[in-house]
Amino acid sequence: MRRPMNTENATATQNLSRDGSGPLLEVSDLRVYYGQSLIVKDLSFKIFPGQAVCLLGRNGMGKTTTLKALMGLLKDCTGKIAFEGRPINHYPPNWRARAGIGYVPQGREIFPRLTVEENLLVGLEAAPNKERIIPEFIYDLFPILRSFLKRLGGDLSGGQQQQLAIARALVAEPKLLLLDEPTEGIQPSIIIEIEEAITRIQKERGVSVLLVEQYFEFAQSLADYFYLMENGSLIMEGPTDQMDEEKVRAHLSI
């Protein structure tokens, strides 16, 4: 079922960036190793400002590894990662966060023994301005957080933690948001809230989104453009509305 990537088509569609500027994130020939094994193989893709891109693929195909590499959490990478045209390979995660990359990891990873408010304040570390005020739009997106401000992060339910994790990444108003399986193990009602929130920040605030998912529908409704990943390589890509559902589904588990 593997087919070579249609690069011509990709370039054509990818150039449909909204304001005609260059890509926000450009990854070329990314290779990531875990110990001795190569997990991500020669990955190249682009994200343009305001675009929502989805990286699809089943468990263990290298999606999470790719995000970690983008965030600078993995040391053994080769290839080029450019953010706003500038290579960022050699910068640590905190520099990348301050440059405007927000990250919502798999499993949320909120700070369990900090309060919700403190979790959000920590999120402000990446903010360019020095003010330590949690912007109002956060409570607008996730109203539930306001009532939980003094609770410990570890005491929240999974769905609430996911919202907190997204909010924590958003308080610093990043240019690019990396989301790693935000629907995993979350109740449907909250998934809908999360989906709405992500759509809003993309449409209203112009934040680019890179979403890693294994569930088709969620990806389809959120993303403008998709990449399909299998065994560490991209095997398919295209605008979401032109997505060949059958073929893509064949590569996903459900």
Binding site: Q36, S37, L38, K41, N231, G232
Partner: protein, 381 residues
């Protein structure tokens, strides 16, 4: 049962040739050969080359290398860093020291007792009149103390640095106890001024040489014991405990027993080392239980290379000779060098000398292979 062959992964890593061991039996033969040669060299060549003083030092350091083997067994292989081996070392030393102090005419008691007005030999001294008892005690007392302590600590799954800190606290307990009990064991001064063993003068050159040879033999035996313990299934379990102790439990093993046994064996080795060291230096005192000495022992192993028995012996010899020479030449500032050495080893040579030689050797091997292959390719067929 149906056999299933999974397909090979696409991104399979080629296993370098160096990772595959050469034939085990041939390796064993080489090892035995080298060992025999070394022993012969130590017994017949070293005495002719070295002065009496240096030979005595070599003998002492060889005794210390037995402790290093024990430390390597528990730290290098099992992952338990003991900062309390000085205690076991001293217990072995005291056991033999008591026997040596009892080489007296009937009715006399060691002279130091008179300092404190003690006229009757304390009860626990009596068994040490017997050499067989002493020989057993040198091994067993440290082993039993270690087993008891190890059981108490390990049973509660106290691991890693907590284990280290507790063993360090143990040194303080024993140090204070031995230091404070003048009337029983001569306190700070320890046991010294030994005269005879088996009726022979311990300071005569024949006796010294005999002790030296005994030490060489003891090192070899200790090496073989550790080799045996670490090579079989038992050794695999030790490594497994070091790498992932909880997993070992799920494999059906209770790590407590293994750890206690290894800790006790290691303590017994320290006891033997302490006895041999005491015989050669002529003194055993609570100072051997002071905190720094136990840490130094660990450093020997770190310098030589953890999880390498050869490294442990080598490390003990090298560090001690270096310490001896440095403190002779720079008596006022050699601590700078010692401290620097610790830093250097931890930061630059995390796998010790043996580890360094291994990686360098492997690289060299790979380079040579590549070079040979290239030669073969370019030469006309």
């Amino acid at each position: 049962m149906k056999l299933v062959h999974p397909p090979r992964a696409d991104h399979e890593v080629a296993v370098p040739a160096a990772e595959r061991d050469p034939s085990p039996s041939r390796k064993l033969l080489w090892e035995a050969g080298i060992l025999v040669l070394l022993v012969l060299a130590l017994i017949f060549v070293a005495p002719t080359v070295l002065s009496g003083f240096r030979l005595n030092l070599l003998g002492r350091f060889l005794a210390l290398s037995i402790v290093a083997l024990g430390i390597d067994l528990i730290w290098g292989y099992t992952g338990m860093l003991s900062l309390g081996h000085g205690v076991f070392f001293a217990l072995g030393g005291y056991a033999l020291g008591m026997h040596l102090k009892l080489q007296l005419p009937e009715g006399q008691i060691p002279e130091f007792f008179s300092l404190y007005g003690v006229t009757e030999l304390p009860w626990f001294w009596y068994p040490f009149y017997s050499f067989p008892f002493t020989a057993v005690a040198v091994v067993l007392i440290p082993a039993l103390v270690a087993a008891a302590l190890g059981y108490l600590v390990v049973r509660n799954r106290i691991r890693g640095v907590y284990f280290s800190i507790l063993t360090q606290a143990t040194t303080i307990i024993f140090f204070n106890f031995f230091n404070g009990q003048q009337r029983l064991i001569n306190g700070t001064n320890g046991l010294t001024n030994f005269q005879t063993l088996f009726g022979l003068d311990v300071n005569s050159s024949e006796m010294r040489f005999a002790v030296y040879v005994t030490t060489v033999v003891a090192v070899v035996l200790a090496y073989l014991l550790c080799r045996w313990l670490t090579s079989g299934l038992f050794g695999r379990i030790l490594v497994a405990i070091r790498d992932d102790e909880p997993r070992v439990r799920f494999s059906g093993y209770d790590p407590t027993g293994f750890k206690v046994l290894v800790f006790a064996v290691s303590a017994a080795l320290a006891g033997i080392a302490g006895a041999l060291f005491t015989l050669q230096t002529g003194i055993i005192s609570p100072n051997a239980m002071a905190v720094p000495f136990s840490i130094e022992m660990v450093i020997w192993v770190a310098v030589g290379g953890r999880a390498s028995l050869v490294g442990a012996v080598l490390g003990a010899l090298l560090v001690n000779f270096a310490k001896s020479l440095l403190s002779e030449n720079f008596p006022e500032i050699w601590l700078f060098f010692q401290g620097g050495l610790f830093l250097l080893v931890v930061l630059v040579l995390p796998d010790g000398l043996v580890g360094w030689v291994r990686t360098q050797g492997r690289q060299l091997w790979v380079t040579v292979q590549l070079w040979r292959r290239r030669l073969a390719n370019t030469s006309p067929a």
